[in-house]
């Protein structure tokens, strides 16, 4: 399968600041890829390079088989900027009609598009009267025009309430199922966890990790935490059997490496008659994310 977006060895500097160094990635049709990183990690710069708004210093980029910013690429790429803004004097339906005309799509469908993002009720009101979440939905509506092959979404769910977020990801799932490639950036790690196929972590302009969540979990090999609650009076016995454990608010806490997990569980289950309860706590996405973005000296 040919990829929709391919980037190899991309670099971009703003004066002395190296915004992106040696970034390579690919996004295939139907794939939902999340781009994670701190503020200033280079996410927005990377997106603007993909869109052809900023010229790279080096490296190769192919967007739907064309160079970024070329008419052929722009015709097939949709963008949702962070904090989407529009002219406050236009109504939602006028703004969407404008974007539809620019893509040679019949503006008669503007109302239907606004309905898809739940804005039909405000379509004839001026955008100046919209809330942030409503403006974000206008942004999303314009990104859906004309079945784009690649959607570049910069923090698309910022300003959306939890229900709108769920609706938004349902829309993305449909688009991906129809074959669109999706690259979205986010701060909300737990949110993209279940909703994307692959994660990319940018740190200080470098791609420090790339893969599915289980892959990243394996690669990071962060320790697993276990919380053991002893039956009344048996705590000293358990401590003697598990010398690594420490007392933490009424229970015993111990950590072990991923590959010692089963052995440790076996040792605990040998103490079955003395244990009231056991919780196994895998490393969270936040832990994995900090591991990768700190590893690079950030």
């Amino acid at each position: 399968m040919t990829s929709t977006l391919t980037i190899s060895h991309l670099t971009k500097a703003f004066g002395p600041v190296q915004a992106l160094s040696d970034v390579s990635l690919r996004v295939d049709p139907g794939e939902r890829v999340a781009l994670l990183g701190h503020n200033g990690a280079g996410k927005s710069t990377l997106m603007k390079v993909i869109l052809g708004l900023i010229a790279p210093d080096g490296g190769e980029i192919s967007v739907c088989g064309a160079a970024p910013g070329q008419a052929a690429a722009r015709a097939r790429v949709a963008y949702l900027p962070e904090n989407a803004t529009f002219h406050s004097a236009l109504t939602g339906v006028e703004q969407i009609s404008y974007y539809m005309r620019l893509r040679h799509v019949d503006p008669a469908g503007a109302m239907e598009l606004l309905d898809r993002v739940g804005l039909a009720f405000a379509a004839r009101r001026r955008i100046g009267t919209y809330s942030k979440g409503m403006r974000q939905r206008v942004g999303l509506a314009q990104a859906l025009i004309g079945h784009p092959s690649l959607l570049v979404l910069d923090e698309p769910t910022s300003g959306l309430d939890p229900i709108s977020r769920r609706d938004f990801y349902e829309l993305l799932d449909k688009l991906a199922a129809e074959g669109a490639a999706i690259l979205l950036s986010s701060h909300a790690l737990t949110e993209v966890e279940a909703r994307t196929d692959r994660l990319l972590i940018l740190s200080g302009g470098r791609m420090v990790a790339s893969g599915t969540l289980p892959e990243l979990r394996r690669e990071a090999a962060l320790p697993v935490a276990m919380h053991v609650t002893a039956l009344n009076g048996y705590e000293p016995d358990i401590l003697a059997a598990l010398p690594d454990a420490i007392r933490v608010n009424g229970g015993l806490h111990l950590t072990c490496a991923q590959d010692e997990k089963l052995a440790t569980l076996a040792r605990i289950s040998a103490l079955r008659s003395k244990v009231a309860d056991l919780d196994v706590i895998p490393p969270s996405l936040e832990d994995i994310y900090s591991y990768f973005s700190r590893r690079d000296g950030q």
């Binding site: 900023i54 008419a71 722009r74 002219h87 004097a89």
Partner: protein, 274 residues
């Protein structure tokens, strides 16, 4: 291509209508034209020209100030506003060329100017002809004034877009636009007149002065309309001082300036980094 230009033009018309720019432009032109036609109708007989030609001469002096002002007021926000609102990056990811965006804005703004100019001059002409049916012989002069006013407006729209691309923000663009209007329309003539007086018929008056007049789109506009109507007698100041410049020269300046200013606008807009 045409569809994308029209798409931008439609959107700009929506914005101008809602921001009351259409209303403001039309009101300004109509009110000032009517005031002038009323004030200018008194001294008719002595000059031996028809009443409408006299009104056209007064309207010319008015339009030199008003048309560039209205054009700059409509255009200064065109690029700087998109940058400041943050709407430009998204627009430039669409399959639309930058010149198509500018052309769409130009089309909408020119259309508004045409409406305002036609309404203003039309009102003045209607009032004049109603009071003196013989004034219809001045309709040729009025037509000339109308289309040259549109060209003058287009020139200043282009200049406004260029300033808007150069400025760092909307307020900066507004400042540049007002400064340029003052410079080209008011101070330029004063400076030239002062130089002519000081020079007292020397090389400046005979060689530099005519070129300096032609180089300024507003002066070329005034020269052309007054020379063509042979109404220089009714004009004072710079208009009267430059009777010697042939008509084709001021006409060329009027026709070339929109091309120059719009070319400049396209060049500066191309260099704007979203």
């Amino acid at each position: 291509m045409i569809l994308r230009v029209l798409a931008t033009a439609i959107t700009e018309l929506h914005i101008a209508r809602r921001n009351r720019w259409v209303l403001i432009a039309v009101l300004l032109m109509v009110v000032f034209s009517l005031v002038l036609s009323a004030a200018g109708s008194a001294p008719t007989g002595a000059l031996g020209a028809d009443r409408l030609s006299i009104v056209v001469a007064s309207l010319t002096s008015l339009s030199v100030y008003l048309v560039p002002l209205v054009a700059l007021l409509m255009s200064f926000d065109a690029v700087a506003g998109e940058v400041e609102r943050g709407t430009l990056p998204l627009l430039l990811t669409y399959p639309v060329a930058r010149w198509e965006v500018l052309a769409g804005k130009l089309l909408a703004h020119t259309a508004i100017l045409v409406v305002a100019i036609t309404a203003g001059y039309g009102a003045a002409a209607a009032v004049t002809i109603a009071s003196d049916p013989a004034a219809v012989s001045g309709l040729g002069a009025l037509w000339r004034l109308t289309w040259t006013s549109v060209f003058l407006g287009a020139t200043f729209l282009g200049i406004g877009y260029a300033l808007s691309s150069l400025a760092r923000g909307v307020s900066g663009a507004a400042g540049l636009a007002i400064g340029l209007w003052l410079g080209l329309v008011v101070l330029y003539d004063l400076g030239l007149l002062a130089a002519v007086v000081l020079d007292d018929g020397g090389a400046f008056t005979t060689h530099v002065f005519p070129v300096a007049l032609l180089a300024n789109p507003a002066d070329a506009f005034r020269l052309f309309n007054l020379t063509a109507a042979q109404a220089t007698a009714a004009a004072s100041g710079v208009g009267g001082a430059a009777r010697a410049i042939p008509l084709w020269q001021s006409l060329s300046s009027i026709l070339l300036w929109p091309l120059i200013s719009l070319g400049l606008a396209a060049l500066t807009f191309r260099r704007v980094e979203p």
